[in-house]
Amino acid sequence: MHGVAILYFAYMFISLYFLILALLLYFKNKDNLNFIPPITKNYSLCILVPAFNEGETIADTIHAIYSSNYKNLSQVIVIDDGSKDDTFYIAKKLKSKYRGLQVIKKSNSGKADSLNYALKFVKTELVGVIDADSFPEKQAFSRLVGYFDDNSVGVVTATCVPRNQNTFLEKLQAIEYKVIAFSRKLLEFIDSIYVAPGSLSIYRVKAIKDIGGFDTKNITEDIEATWHILKNNWKVKMCFNAYVTTKVPNKLKPWFKQRRRWALGGLQCIKKYKKQFLRENIFGYFVVPFFTLGLFLGVIGVGVLVYLFIRKGISYFLLTRYSLETSVPLITMHEFYITPSVINYFGLILFALFLVFNLFVLGLMKDKILGKQSFFNLIFYMTIYLLIYPWALVMALWHYSKGKMVWR
């Protein structure tokens, strides 16, 4: 068997395995999918809002936080990380309107450092982190805090979806966020949520202190913090019915940079926690290998794609050149035939299975706060959008090898 064919089969098997795992997780836990723990105790809650040049959205974020129906929201701290715009002034103006709102201005030192700085002022049992371009729904906090009745829970996160779903790229991201949210909820059932994103996650203060705060060296402090929490045997939970909307990139370049940053942060995490690989707990046995495998397959996939593309390109170039030189037709009818290989059949079946899976997820979530998606968008998402993502991985790897750990 040809080397590339073996690789195709390996990819297909791994994809099939995770698809089956997801289905089993769903069918065994579907009754718990929409579980919202009742509030038995009104834990005191502080929300941290790190902000850098977020003048456009900061006011709406603060409004959204204060629109919450949670009874014991004691503190909200906005940390202006040296913004060059009017973020600080907008937030400061709102102090008179909202009780307990603190606005801190400091020189730029990054998100993780800003959060660590603000943690010194936290006087509550729980601390939430919300990006300054994210907007929690009214019931979001109330639906999350109930999880903390379990003393082993270190962090709880929400379903995050794009706020802006107008352009084509935004609509594609809407599909992606929904699929991710569903998959993340499924991973919760095996204690393997690998990121409690910064758009909205609530930490037990004891847990965040246990891990020594956020890692300032990591450019995806939320992934790192989640990994550290898992490593220290805390549980990570997610409420499927607690929503937060977030502003997503509407142009390809910032989108690509965002994905590259996520991948770069992921690489930093893999390096930091490589010793946990296949050790101790579910974090070592599943989360680290699963995440590493994802990155590895993405990069190898791009490598194979480039190799095949170059090979085909050279072949076509030579054939065109020789055909022109010898006055031979470039394309003849004899070349148009379809004899599908086993790989074609496998690929088609797998694609159909994933299409059904995605349709199912979108169908499951259509009644929620999220709009409908067109079938074309879904096909484009599965065939083109997901193919671009591995390139961000490759770029991240390149940046990583050069030591360029930059946010933007």
Binding site: F9, L318, L319, T339
Partner: protein
């Protein structure tokens, strides 16, 4: 982690192995089926070749019409050529079984045999057709050689389509480790691929000379 979820990793693995294994088995079955189609065609071709050979032998004993035998030979070559194209398509798409590669070798030997038979025929009958034997490298890894062979192949097909049954076209892979084919290569001093042998005399081995084919 809840007890009911603990074993899902293994359960998923077992189900994945079962489904994937079934898929591979099914795929192998499809490929075997394709090989058996080719095998059946090859058996028929062998019979046809035997028929042509017998007619050829009868020629010396009786007064059979050279023209008819020549037409049959060319028809047979055309048929064998079409079957080889199907074989090639199956070969390109087969990933699991290797039986079809053996069939390729068999077809090359049949075509070599056909070539020898055409030579025998020409000992007894006048030449009313152009014999084009195209020697190529089977499964070449070189992109340059592959592009060269594809260009040669297209040119020959175009030539055959224009000339129809006045051309006896016999493509033979020159690197299939067959003593008979090696011997043919030695007789006609063919040292590189691709090479077109025309009427057992002239050779075209370079792209620059490919246009010369039109002179025949």
């Amino acid at each position: 982690m809840e007890r009911k979820n603990k074993h899902l990793f293994w359960e998923a693995l077992i189900i994945a192995i079962f489904i994937f294994g079934s898929g591979l088995f099914f795929g192998y079955f499809i490929e075997l089926n394709r090989t058996s189609i080719i095998l059946e065609a090859a058996q028929q071709t062998e019979l046809d070749l035997l028929d042509v050979k017998i007619q050829d032998n009868l020629l010396s004993l009786s007064s059979l019409d050279c023209k008819i035998i020549t037409e049959e030979l060319i028809d047979f070559a055309n048929r064998i050529y079409d079957e080889a194209k199907t074989l090639e398509r199956y070969e390109d798409s087969n990933q699991l079984s290797s039986g079809i590669i053996m069939q390729h070798k068999k077809y090359d030997l049949l075509r070599a045999n056909l070539f020898v038979n055409s030579l025998k025929l020409l000992e007894k009958c006048d030449r009313h057709f152009l014999t084009i034997v195209y020697f190529y490298e089977y499964n070449t890894k070189s992109l340059n050689k592959k592009a060269e062979q594809d260009t040669f192949s297209k040119k020959i097909v175009e030539f055959k389509e224009t000339r129809g049954n006045s051309v006896l076209l016999i493509p033979i892979a020159g690197n299939i480790n067959s003593s008979a084919v090696d011997y043919v290569l030695k007789i006609y001093n063919i040292t590189s691929f691709p090479t077109i042998l025309i009427n057992e005399k002239d050779k075209i081995s370079s792209l620059e000379d490919l246009k010369k084919l039109e002179r025949y």
